[in-house]
């Protein structure tokens, strides 16, 4: 009996994921209303539950894909993977008012550049403070502070050691998690109210995953504007990291 149920779930991974995420969203909605009286958005709670489950999954299986490392829950990996994530993000573009996006285009580009350079400088400085004082390590960890893809891509290009690469990935992941969880609480401070502010946020907060989850947990209508800018983040980081930023770091620290 149990074996048969197992088989059904295993052979229908994606459908199992739909059911599981549906239950999680419902539970989050209940928690949001009962525990926080609607102050904390249901989506924010659902994302936190997701992250907590990812920790449990990683701790038990020792894998790298969180909950998706359980064979029974492999469908979560498909549902939350790059393919469906990008498909759903592109679909949100349907809600973008072209006129509004165009009004904020220039400041979006500006924040994209700032969003690459500022985290890089902060990350590189903190790496140096902890004794990673060579240009390669500082650049790699600084690039990790941009996004968790820019870090290893940059590190591989300039020949960083594997422990520094791991550190830079960890930096990027923690930043994404901070953005996911922190954004709904900081929305007042950040001034996140309009399409323009969402585009500034998308440029500066980095990582499509962090931005999209953070905005989703704040106000669903902000998502497409933020994602539109954030999607260029990793590409620009991979462009500037191993080139301009590395050479600048090398010129300064020798």
């Amino acid at each position: 009996m149990l074996e048969m149920l197992n088989k059904v779930l295993l052979h229908n991974g994606l459908v199992t994921a739909f059911a599981l995420v549906g239950v999680t969203m419902w539970l989050s909605g209940v928690l949001s209303r009962r525990l926080t009286f609607g102050h904390v958005h249901g989506s924010a709670i659902a994302i936190m539950i997701g992250l907590a489950l990812a920790y449990v999954g990683g701790a038990i299986t020792g894998g790298e894909k969180g909950l998706a490392d359980f064979p029974l829950l492999g469908g979560i990996g498909l549902m939350g993977g790059a393919m469906l994530r990008d498909f759903a993000i592109v679909a949100t573009a349907f809600e973008v008012q072209a006129t509004e996006a165009r009004k904020a285009g220039l400041i979006g580009v500006l924040s994209l550049l700032l969003g690459t350079v500022i985290p890089f400088i902060v990350g590189a400085l903190i790496a140096r403070a902890f004794g990673y004082s060579d240009a390669v390590s500082m650049t790699t960890i600084g690039a990790g502070a941009v996004t968790y893809i820019v870090g290893p891509v940059t590190g591989a290009a300039i020949g960083a050691s594997s422990d520094v690469m791991a550190l830079s990935i960890a930096t990027g992941l923690i930043k994404a998690i901070i953005v996911m969880v922190g954004t709904p609480f900081a929305k007042g401070f950040l001034g996140l109210k309009t399409p323009r502010s969402a585009m500034i946020f998308g440029g500066l907060a980095g990582t499509v995953s962090g931005v999209s989850a953070g905005l989703a947990a704040t106000d669903r209508r902000l998502v497409p504007y933020g994602a539109l800018v954030a999607t260029f983040h990793t590409g620009i980081g991979c462009l500037l990291g191993p080139s301009v930023l590395f050479l600048a770091t090398k010129a300064i620290v020798g």
Partner: protein, 136 residues
């Protein structure tokens, strides 16, 4: 037909990612440059064009809208896929760099979003009947 909308979305998605890869190869980067962004821009432009031609019935819109509404559940699944264990294992350097970067950027966002004239606004509610869900 609903599939027309979903196919339109798929067309934009694939073309955008392909152009993003091409752009990456062109400037010598080992990554996709703005593929999703290019796909979003294509969808925006195509939507305006098809609406002007009068060939964007409600069903077609629903074929895109469904996926837009599935966005938050997909993000929840994505959160459940993150390598949280590795992130926490990074120790103080990773934690402080990430925290420092996030806080500095938050201050710059707060400054920029209050600077200049912000004339952007959301469309009236009836534009979002397919893509906007009630708060859960």
């Amino acid at each position: 037909m609903i599939i027309y909308g979903t196919a339109l979305l798929a067309f934009c998605h694939l073309t955008g990612l392909f152009l993003g890869d091409l752009l990456g190869a062109l400037i010598g980067v080992k990554s996709n440059v703005g593929g999703v962004g290019i796909a979003m821009l294509m969808l925006i432009v195509l939507k305006i064009y098809l609406e002007k031609k009068g060939v964007m019935p409600k069903e077609t819109e629903a074929g895109v809208g469904f996926w837009g509404a599935m966005y938050i559940p997909v993000v929840v699944a994505m959160a459940a896929n993150q390598n949280v264990v590795a992130a926490l294992k990074g120790g103080p350097v990773a934690l402080l760099s990430a925290l420092g970067a996030a806080l500095t950027c938050a201050c710059v966002i707060a400054l920029l979003s209050r600077s200049g004239r912000d004339t952007t606004a959301f469309p009236p509610v009836h534009h979002q009947e397919f893509t906007q869900e009630q708060d859960i």
